[in-house]
Amino acid sequence: MARVIVVTSGKGGVGKTTTSASFSAGLALKGYKVAVIDFDVGLRNLDLIMGCERRVVYDFVNVVQGEASLKQALIKDKKVPNLFVLAASQTRDKDALTKEGVGKVIDDLKADGFDFIICDSPAGIEKGAQLALYYADEAVIVTNPEVSSVRDSDRILGILQAKSKRAEEGDTPIVEHLILTRYNPERVAAGEMLAMQDVVELLSVKLLGIVPEAEEVLQASNAGTPVIMYEGVNASEAYKDIVDRFLGEDKPQRFLTVEHKSLFKKLFGK
């Protein structure tokens, strides 16, 4: 049975699209058939992060409005088998998506034999974000260890629990997972950044994993390759762990402590 997963955060710029790209690529690398949908109509970016921006012919809105078939609009990833991207429209406005239209696309994807449907939510709590989470079975909340991000995550959790299809129909609630991105263990140790335990306690959501702040995340987006595809990189390892944990493996958390610098570096290095 297909699982619909929304990747959401409330706040913008915390790493939703980066996470959607790596999470869906990670699941596809495990052999599952995965579709990842960009819900950010008017500000599409998932195509760019996944490196398929030049192959977008038809988009999500075209499918919802019956101007193209799902088959025509799904972009097959070139690096990962079984991974398909449904880009957002860049020219239409947000009202182009309707609850019924989105529901039909998700049903069609399920009928097509997809195992996972990842919905990359736009920032905010308006219509686009609400549509992205409406049909979700599970939610991945992307949060930075920073006050405004934590507050907005709490807000979006409230919306998940009140305005999703599952909530409206009194079904079993959406399963919530937390991914803490841009984590800097050094600053946590110095008392300058909220610690993992603090954020988990504040939001009371089960932690799927932390992603350390890393230069490679920017390099990966420059190259249009999900960071999970990189080898021997902390951020990539973190996302691989996250995928394993999501699939039920029991993996201990990593990247929570400071990597020790030599005394020389500590005194004179930058």
Binding site: V147, A190, G191, E192, L194, K266, L267
Partner: protein
């Protein structure tokens, strides 16, 4: 410079703790507001208008909330009267 930063760093305030404390208060407040029935804000305004007929009070000095306590729903009204005027 790193040496000086390192030494100064020892005296830096623990701002993460501040962040956590502030968020704890804020989230508790916002969650209770989100759960509050829609009529609560309107009811508060009307109660405030009635009180204002008799006492000179500030808008922010009336707090109203609905909490759950041992399975009972409790409507809590908290009004701070001005100190200077005694009738």
């Amino acid at each position: 410079m790193a040496l000086i930063d390192y030494l100064l760093g020892q005296n830096k305030k623990n701002s993460a703790k501040q962040a956590k404390d502030r968020l704890q208060i804020l989230l508790a407040h916002e969650r209770s507001q989100a759960k509050a029935p829609v009529y609560l804000a309107k009811m508060r305004d009307e109660i405030l208008a009635v009180i204002a007929k008799y006492v000179d009070i500030d808008d922010e000095n009336l707090q109203i909330s609905i909490d759950e306590d041992n399975g009972f729903e409790v409507l809590e009204l908290n009004l701070i009267l001005p100190e200077s005027r005694k009738h």
